[in-house]
Point group: C2
Chain length 153, copies 2
């Protein structure tokens, strides 16, 4: 990703091209290590599977930082910054992740609204390395269409 794109990121959001090592037997797809700048502790790893055409969200974590990759299918993410003290308050970011042209690590810090849609013909998988274990008390949700977030899916 060039600087032009990174300059348009919501403050604290990360988008980094990841490498893959391919050979005739398969591939090694990098994700994240404990030395990655995006890493902020390990709480839980899990997979979210989304069927084609389905939209999920909006969701906000008050504490959890998330690190997403999409190793199967293609997913579109929309993020919204409503943080009082953010330099990018009010900003929307849109990203498309997949496992080839757009094999990115998407880092979502806490207090950012996010939603996503599976835009591939088949299901999409999100692998998440999250900084804390799942805890329903730190999650806020909004309907996918609402009068608060300035984005219409």
């Amino acid at each position: 990703m060039g600087n032009a794109i990174n300059e348009n990121l919501i403050q604290g959001v990360g988008l980094k091209k990841l490498s893959q090592i391919n050979d005739e037997r398969g591939a090694l797809l990098h994700f994240i290590t404990n030395e990655s700048p995006e890493y902020s502790g390990f709480g839980e790893a899990y997979i979210s599977k989304t069927n084609s055409g389905i939209i999920k969200g909006w969701k906000l974590h008050k504490i959890m930082s998330q690190n997403f990759i999409v190793p199967v299918g293609e997913m579109e993410f929309v993020l919204f910054d409503d943080r009082e003290n953010s330099n990018t308050k009010g900003k929307i970011n849109k990203f498309v992740l997949n496992n080839n042209t757009n094999y990115f690590l998407l880092t979502i810090p806490p207090k950012i609204w996010y939603s996503f849609k599976c835009v591939s013909v088949n299901e999409g998988l999100i692998f998440n390395v999250a900084s804390i274990k799942h805890d329903p008390t730190e999650i806020e949700t909004l309907p996918i269409n609402n009068s608060f977030i300035p984005f219409v899916w």
Copy 2:
């Protein structure tokens, strides 16, 4: 998995059925948290993709503990215990993992030889949460067919 199977495990190896929460929009596939008994620290998460019919191994990590799931395709794993002080020295374990009937967490402690084959028609993915970052100096390898490990692929 019943006790009968767990009693046959190589000492320190883990095999645990994981849960999935399915609905009409997709699914949530559990993997591992920082409170899981299998968890022994976070060094790196990555994905290994193996093409159909391909066998990889043998490999042994002197330090790294590994936690594997197979969210795509089907993989057969063979493990061999050559540890001097192990109660199960000389033992071979075989496991088949996939994302439905055999959605298991396979935990491989250090000093266990392992190899695997993609036995699905399409590629198989292994999602690994490893206790240390990749370090080639702590890895030993052997050819897939050798006179040391009593298993013929």
